[in-house]
């Protein structure tokens, strides 16, 4: 293992060295067209008749220069301080100073643009070298038409992936990198752009996260984290086993109307969750239907505080989640259970096995094997199950002992949401977001390596 690692490291080092060697050698051996291309991208290609590639590269360079002059120049140099000029009031006019938010956002964007440009510049050099080599060998360069058509054949992957990759970059990668950076700044309600500046503070926010005591986030964070893990565990496994049980009931040989039973359960998936969950939330409310009937029938004297008692709220949420989760699991299990060969059960019956034994030694191992990856995604999905928690309780009941309005049923993500929307405490929200990532990643890595389907079927494709 260690040897392999050092080998790949060495390979990577070699690759980097190769890049630099390539750049130098191409410059030394290249003709003047290639050398000019070091400054004006696409120049060599254009002169050799590859005008499609040449113009595309030139346009990229022009775009890059235009971007750097109009946007990059304004924001990139300030990224180390995130702005120094405060917005002031001069007589009665507001004179806007630096906007830390925009500086950070466009500063990061500029860094990415520069990196992309360097890659493109290198591609341009390699292109020149290739072309020169082909010409020296007396071969012809591909026609422009061929180059264009290759975008729909051998280079079709680039055509297909261009828009998705750009979309993901702008709307996922950039914002995530931005928020990771925010975790190292003091961006909160006292440092809101554009009126106030915020700046880098290093690891202060992370220190705050593990500080216990009245001002620190430590106690609250570990309480919320604990409940998040407990919730994800119960929500995943209770639903998994109950869903499987229901599927087995419906799959039983002599049961009629199989389709009807399944359809009834599937209604919960079909109805938009906010309708069903909000209704169920009101059903369990202190003045809701369930308490109403129980009071009317005289079974209880006082309304059961389903949502206001911390422990009871947690149990109710898990129970309601069973209502949501069983149909989904039932659908998946139904198909899989039918895949188990019937003769396995027959021979087990001849050996005198009862139902429970058959379940334990045939059904369960098979199901766990096949649905391992699904269980993992369910678990990580439940760690971040915003809708169920937020629509049912919004994380309440609130507790005075917890900071930042965290409640007893808050998951890390709902807490993060509250911090963002209600308290605009972005710095800590970003830290919590990173923690959610860490928890998800750690759980995924550990469980993934434990999965039987990963261990046994390495070569399965």
């Amino acid at each position: 293992m260690g040897k392999a690692k050092s080998q790949t490291m060495a390979e990577r080092g070699n690759a980097v060295a190769n890049v630099f060697k390539n750049i130098a050698v191409t410059f030394k051996e290249g003709d003047w067209k290639t050398r000019v291309s070091y400054l004006i991208m696409g120049f060599g290609e254009l002169l050799r008749g590859q005008w499609l590639k040449g113009i595309a590269l030139m346009l990229c360079e022009a775009g890059f220069i235009a971007y750097m002059i109009s946007v990059g120049r304004k924001y990139l140099p300030k990224i180390t301080t995130l702005g120094t000029e405060v917005t002031k009031k001069v007589s009665r006019k507001t004179v806007y100073g630096d906007n830390s938010f925009l500086i950070l956002l466009f500063g990061l964007l500029s860094i990415f643009v520069v990196l992309a440009f360097i890659v493109l510049w290198y591609v341009n050099i390699c292109e020149n070298r290739e072309e020169e080599k082909l010409l020296k060998e007396g071969k012809k360069l591909p026609t422009n038409q061929k180059v264009f058509l290759s975008l729909f054949d051998s280079n079709f992957d680039k055509t297909l992936l261009a828009i998705p990759v750009i979309g993901i970059f702008v709307f996922t990668v950039l914002p995530i990198v931005f928020m990771i950076c925010v975790a190292f700044t003091n961006y909160d309600k006292n440092h809101q752009a554009p009126t106030n500046l915020f700046t880098w503070v290093g690891f202060e926010n992370f220190k705050n996260l593990v500080t216990f005591g009245s001002s620190g986030f430590g106690t609250t964070f570990f309480k919320v984290l604990g409940w998040t893990l407990v919730w994800a565990f119960f929500a995943t496994f209770i639903d998994y086993f109950l869903g499987m049980a229901v599927a087995m009931l419906i799959n039983k040989k002599d049961i009629k109307f199989k389709k009807l039973w399944r359809t009834i359960l599937v209604v919960t998936i079909a109805v938009p969750q906010f309708v069903s969950l909000l209704y169920v939330m009101k059903m369990f409310a202190n003045d809701g239907l369930i308490n109403g009937y129980l009071l009317k029938w005289g079974w209880i004297k006082q309304a059961i505080p389903f949502w206001t008692n911390p422990m009871l709220a947690r149990i109710t949420i898990i129970v309601v989640n069973i209502w949501i989760g069983i149909p989904y699991m039932m659908l998946i299990a139904t198909g899989l259970l039918m895949n188990i060969p019937e003769d396995l059960y027959e021979s087990a019956k001849i050996d005198g096995a009862n139902g429970w034994q058959m379940f334990r030694s045939i059904t369960l191992p098979y199901m766990l094997f096949v649905t391992g990856p699904f269980l993992l995604t369910q678990f990580t999905g439940n760690l971040n199950n915003f809708n169920v928690i937020y629509l049912l309780t919004q994380g309440q009941p609130q507790s005075m002992k917890l900071v930042e309005k965290a409640g007893s049923t808050d998951l890390l993500v709902t807490w993060l949401y509250k911090m963002t929307v209600n308290n605009t405490n972005y710095r800590m929200a970003a830290v919590i977001g990173i923690m959610v990532f860490v928890v998800t990643a750690v759980v995924s890595v550990i469980v993934y390596n434990m999965l039987p389907s990963v261990k046994d079927e390495e070569g399965f494709q």
Partner: protein, 285 residues
């Protein structure tokens, strides 16, 4: 032996009937309460402790269509969102899945691993940044609908797993045969793979179509108090959380019914494809 089996079956039926009642009860309640009047002269419109209304009335439905609220606007918004997101997202997912399933290019495994890691970050983390990004282009508040479409579609390429899994099951020999006949990759994709992928296309489109009906968090953040750009989830949730107990609860029930019925019917019609997609996705992970 036979009587034992019969008893077993009887118990199963009883359990199934109890389950059915539990599962349908909230929807039964929702329907019943939507017919309760909010007019204090007739009946109370807030929370009550009985399920069957004393007087059936269409007051709530009349209210939704009366123009006193923007319910029709919200409904229209959601339909626009759902249709556009469903169509565009399907195209994105198909493109990504085909490229990752069929083509072998430099950085392919890196891309897949990178996206897998990206997926582990909570979505709300990006919310603030996206809000300001959209604001720069005027796509918040009154422009929230195109903004929401843009955001939901842009990153949808990451959800390629189920679809790629399906493409992986289509034999590669088919592609190769067509390529020997001189068909380009694009041609194979458009005229061979896509017609063969009807179930997975319907599954992808259906899942994408359902999502905007439940999107509360992001939609409310981007529309931010601009009533005309709410979707139904945001508007109805606000009704439930309002302190105006006299009325809005039954109105929410009626609105919920109007939203749930068409979506549920659509889902039930396409249920077969949904089950196929979900089961396939669960096994391949």
């Amino acid at each position: 032996m036979k009587t034992k089996k019969k008893i077993g079956n009887a118990i199963t039926y009883i359990v199934l009937i109890i389950i059915s009642i539990i599962w349908l009860f909230p929807f039964f309640g929702l329907i019943m309460q939507s017919f309760r009047s909010y007019d204090p002269a007739v009946e109370y419109g807030g929370m009550v402790d009985y399920i069957i209304p004393k007087h059936f009335s269409l007051d709530n439905y009349r209210f939704l269509f009366s123009g006193e609220t923007n319910f029709l606007v919200w409904y229209k918004n959601t339909i626009i969102l759902a249709v556009f997101i469903s169509a565009l997202q399907t195209v994105m997912v198909l493109c990504v899945s085909y490229a990752l399933s069929r083509m072998r290019f430099k950085g392919r495994t890196f891309l897949m691993r990178f996206w897998l890691i990206l997926g582990m970050f909570p979505g709300f983390l990006t919310m603030i940044c996206l809000y300001f990004l959209l604001k720069e282009f005027g796509l918040t508040q009154s422009g929230a609908i195109p903004g929401l479409i843009l955001v939901s579609v842009a990153s949808s390429g990451m959800g390629y797993y189920v679809c790629k899994g399906f493409f992986d099951t289509i034999p590669k020999a088919l592609d190769e045969a067509a390529r020997i006949d001189g068909a380009s990759r694009a041609r194979i994709f458009l005229t061979m793979i896509i017609p063969m992928s009807k179930p997975i296309i319907i599954y992808t489109a259906l899942v994408a179509f359902m999502a905007p009906w439940c999107d509360y968090v992001f939609a409310s953040y981007i529309a931010f108090g601009h009533d005309m750009s709410y979707n139904v989830a945001v508007a109805m949730t606000r009704w439930v959380w309002t302190n105006d107990y006299q009325g809005y609860f039954t109105r929410f029930c009626a609105g919920g019914i109007l939203i749930a019925v068409p979506v549920t019917i659509l889902f039930m019609c396409l249920q077969r494809y949904y089950v196929e997609g979900v089961t396939g996705g669960a096994v391949k992970g």
